[in-house]
Amino acid sequence: MSDQYKGYRNPARAVLKENGVSVWSSVEMNTSRGVFKGLILPRSETADNKHIMLKLHNGYNIGIAVSTIQEIRELGRKEAHYKIPEKEFPVDPKKPDVKLLGTGGTIASRLDYRTGAVIPAFSPGELYGSVPELADLCNLDTEKLYGVFSENMGPEQWIGTAEAIGREIRKGIHGIVIGHGTDTMHHTAAVLSFMVQNSPIPIVMVGSQRSSDRPSSDAALNLIHAVKTAAESDISEIMVCMFGPTSDQYGLLHRGTRVRKMHSSYRSTFRTIGDIPIAMVNREKITPLRTDYKHRRLDQEVVINTSFNEKVTIVYYYPNMQPDIIESLADNGYRGIVIAGTGLGHVNKPLYPALKKACDNGIAVYMTVQTLWGYVQMYVYETGREIMGLGVVPCANMLPEVAYVKLGWALGQTDDPEKVKEIMLTPIAGEITEREPYNGYLIYQGGIPEVEQFLRMIKR
């Protein structure tokens, strides 16, 4: 498709051609609904082929159905150029060096009002222009590793990111920030917690729930919090840094193995499950909420282990699940199955033979809970005991997605079921905790008078 008719397909494209006009032509159109004047803009690929898009002089875009067009006259041309002037990120030798690795997601952007394009801002100069506060915190360098929507992140990107982290630590960087789409940020945070161990510095994952072109976006504040953490905190763990409440009050630093995206769109979607977050962060300070975190060190001795076996899956149990699901997994060569079971870790009886067969054939089958909170406890009911008897291993309070990446990582290192079990059940970065405190599960219902009263008192 030539750029001249960018995005336009027939019949719209043919109409443009016939009338001798193209994208960026300033035109007057005679149509059966009247006369319209504006600038022809490129057409989005997902929009239909029956309309031509015009930008009016007042800035609004409209579509004109080609079936109504009688004549188009060109009045001139107004080409758009997306060149963004660069500013230099100021360097201060007294400030710590922080590296921002980009994998996707738009943590900052600029607007081209003429065309309406939202252009990602990613280089240090662009970020400085967009979020100048970063220069008060550190010297920032950026590197774009990938540019994918986070649902497209996978082992290849995880491994690449872990290796990049290793390289930066060995170069002596003071802190690392990873820009990432929010959909699978917790998956990546978990797998990096296994692939990158013993880090001497903070590694902070960050994203934005609302696109960064909006004035109300959480992007800038999340970025400021994340960079501050990387530059100043002494928490040397893999963390996710996102909004605490939906108000602009503070961010939370969540341990990478216990954090999960819990709402499709809320700013405050990320929550630590079954425990409390590591710390609160705002523009002024970082406030640890606990003392049992790994502290910053001055050496560069990080352990990078990027093994991963892709033949691992999560199975979300539901009533009336049939054994053929398990059988087809086995038939397709899967070596690891994480089950998200109901209640304390249960599935129905019809699945037992298939599960036994899988375990007997050396497939690693592990049990987690759909309820997300709480421990797998398969001794309580006969069901659980029977399932364990088949060879299924309970994963304590590991989250299903975390168990999935850990199993992939474990199976990347060994085939031996006993060794896999040892890896799975030995906590590395808090993916299994010894105890669940009372305030690890706080889901209050709306509508209850005392809860509503409480909400009226605080800002959410």
């Binding site: 004109i64 081209d112 959410r460």
Partner: protein, 648 residues
């Protein structure tokens, strides 16, 4: 050279022509819909209590030029904390920008298309939703979703046409609760309600014309029955300029009668600012030669007896003085009715520096008693101020006062250019105040959360049936029908005009009598809180049909209808008591017998039993006889006939 401007009442059309006055109108009108525009919350529900509060800040987005847009920068400079009060009944997670938009409300779109067709707009084939950025906090997302439905409409006015540039459909913003220092609080109930925006060409040249056109547009949209009425349902903004001046937008005119005085005051203000510019130029002061400096004079005011400064000192505020070279006589220049130029400076200090406690400045030209002349002298000396210079005192906490000094100097320098580009707010006394720096040309970009939406011909055809005849056409028609002059606009702009026209077509009753019931009495009953919803169109038909036959009904109509509205009986049963029982029913019953005879003699489909036959024939008979003869009577008469046939 003395400066004079006539009083409001003394201005003539010629005066405005000499000034080169050009005015454009922007009217925002709430649509009457069940739901909001981009979510499913109920529209039109207002709440005074809130269940929770949310805190946000607004950050400007860099434009392609690598600069922040003027307004955006200004709002950012003010560093406001913005609190949104939310009530579970009126907002959902969409309003707080925590959930993406739902599909556009189809009822709102239909209503907008009807208005578009009424006002001669050219309707677009595909609507594209755009985001228009606002950083004052009035919208939690920081932008408003807005779209254009039609362009290039018009209405007739006197002997010309007033052009309507565009018809927009957009979301309404929050209601401001308070704005003090660095905290602004908004209520979110109104947020997200559908609004249409009609923008005229600057084709009006006197304040009266503007009010007239505003009234015509108001009546026209109301005549569709698709817009909300009541306080706050419509807001007007005006764009005013005079020759040599700048287009200034005045926002938030709550009532049309306020328009003329507001326009007058703005014309006056612009004229005054141009005069000030010339005067400064004569003194050799331009934007290049403008000079100002400031100094901390807190220690000189320690013993002042003027209360506001005393309190400032107690609070620990710093007091600074700005010296404006050559500005003597300027600060006191009248700009609007009862307002002088220094008010412009004070407004900036209030809005941008957040010095909201008034008075926030005093000047060496203030006519009121403030600080004594001896102290002024000391201050003059401290600033090395000359006879041709003017002084401005400002006070506050160290950060705000620095912003304040900056704004004072900025505004003073702008006086050498003439009229700065600003958005002004309409005030109840007919003057206007500074609201914000005029935004850059395009703060708008496409909203990629929603796809473009096609407007098909068949939709326009379907809606076309609901487009009323334009108000101006109706007014002429009704005048010829003898409707009293004082009711013409009311009737023409009412959604009940449809019904009115049907009734005068159908019934042989003088139109002004129908108008009396349908409008004058109607309003009276509304005030008495009678349940007017009970009076359906069918009931009006029934009433006037009965009145046609029995004049006494028309005479007693008020009590009949009131009786019906406040009681339990059907209208029919009340009307019956006025009808001579024999005559009407006898006539109708005769008609009924004839109809039944005709029917049973006609070719009828075969029925397996009489119940089915009865049901079929009832369906046919009810149409002409409903409302004239009780259904029960028709049914019985029919049964008799059917059984009679069988018995033959």
């Amino acid at each position: 050279m003395t400066f004079s401007f006539k009083a409001f009442e003394a201005m003539t059309d010629k005066d405005y022509k000499n000034l080169g006055l050009k005015v454009g109108l922007e009217i925002h009108q709430q649509l009457l819909t069940k739901k909001k525009l981009f979510c499913r919350c109920p529209a039109g529900v207002y709440s005074e209590v809130h269940d929770a509060e949310i805190l946000r800040h607004m950050r400007p987005t860099l434009s392609e030029l690598g600069e922040y847009d003027g307004t955006a920068l200004m709002e950012f400079k003010t560093r406001k904390n913005i609190i949104y009060q939310i009530n579970h009944e009126t907002v959902c997670t969409y309003e707080m920008d925590d959930t993406p938009p739902f599909e556009i409300d189809q009822e709102a779109l239909d209503n907008t298309l009807i208005v578009a067709m009424l006002l001669n707009y050219k309707v677009v084939s595909e609507i594209h939703i755009a985001r228009k950025q606002y950083l004052d906090g009035s919208i939690p997302a920081g932008f408003q979703r807005t779209t254009i439905v039609g362009v290039d409409g018009w209405i007739p006015y006197q002997d010309k046409k007033i052009g309507l540039i565009q018809l927009g459909l957009e979301e309404d913003a929050c209601r401001e609760v308070s704005d003090v220092e660095h905290l602004r609080i908004f209520r979110t109930d109104r947020l997200g309600m559908p609004l249409i925006e009609m923008v005229t060409q600057p084709d009006m040249h006197t304040p009266e014309e503007v009010a007239d056109v505003a009234n015509i547009l108001r009546c026209a949209v109301r005549s569709t029955g698709k817009v909300r009425t009541g306080i706050g349902a419509a807001r007007q903004d005006v764009n005013v300029s005079i020759t040599g001046g700048t287009r200034i937008e005045i926002k938030g005119v709550s009532r049309i009668p306020l328009l003329p005085r507001l326009i007058y005051n703005e014309a006056r203000r612009q004229h005054a600012l141009l005069y000030i510019k010339d005067r400064l130029k004569q003194k050799g002061i331009t934007s290049e030669t403008f000079r100002a400096r400031s100094a901390d004079v807190s220690n000189l005011l320690v013993r002042t007896s003027w209360e506001p400064l005393q309190q400032a000192i107690q609070r620990g505020d710093e007091i600074h003085c700005v010296n404006l070279k050559g500005f003597s006589g300027v600060l006191n220049q009248t700009t609007q009715t009862d307002k002088v130029f220094s008010k412009e400076i004070s407004d900036r200090a209030r809005v941008i520096a957040c010095l909201t406690r008034l008075p926030n400045i005093i000047t060496s030209e203030s006519l009121e008693e403030t600080i004594d002349s001896y102290t002024w002298q000391k201050i003059r000396k401290a600033l090395n101020s000359g006879n041709e210079d003017a002084l401005v005192l400002v006070w506050g906490n160290p950060e705000d006062v620095r912003t304040g000094i900056n704004e004072i100097m900025t505004r003073a320098k702008e006086a050498t250019i003439g009229i700065p580009s600003e958005t002004r707010q309409a005030l109840e006394d007919g003057t206007n105040g500074f609201e914000r720096i005029l935004p850059g040309p395009d703060r708008m970009y496409p909203d990629t959360d929603l796809p473009p939406l096609e407007i098909q011909e068949k939709r326009l055809r379907r809606l076309g049936k609901h487009v009323p005849e334009p108000v101006w056409v109706r007014i002429e028609k009704y005048r010829k029908l003898g409707i009293p002059e004082n009711l013409l606009v009311t009737v023409a702009s009412s959604p009940r005009a449809f019904l009115f026209e049907e009734l005068i077509k159908k019934f042989n009753i003088p139109p002004h009598r129908i108008v009396n019931y349908l409008f004058e009495q109607y309003t009276a009953w509304k005030r008495q809180n009678l349940p007017l919803d009970k009076m359906s169109e069918k009931d009006w038909y029934l009433f006037f049909r009965a009145s046609e036959q029995q004049p006494v009904i028309l005479e007693n109509g008020a009590s009949i209808i009131k009786n019906f509205l406040s009681g339990d009986r059907t209208l029919y049963s009340i009307l019956k008591t006025y009808l001579p029982p024999e005559t009407e029913i006898k006539n109708e019953e005769k008609n009924l017998y004839m109809s039944i005879k005709d029917l049973t003699e006609d070719e009828l489909p075969h029925f397996s039993d009489n119940t089915k036959k009865h049901k079929y024939l009832m369906g046919i008979l009810m149409k002409p006889f409903r409302g004239k003869i009780p259904g029960k009577t028709i049914s019985e008469t029919l049964w008799n006939s059917i059984n009679g046939v069988n018995n033959e």
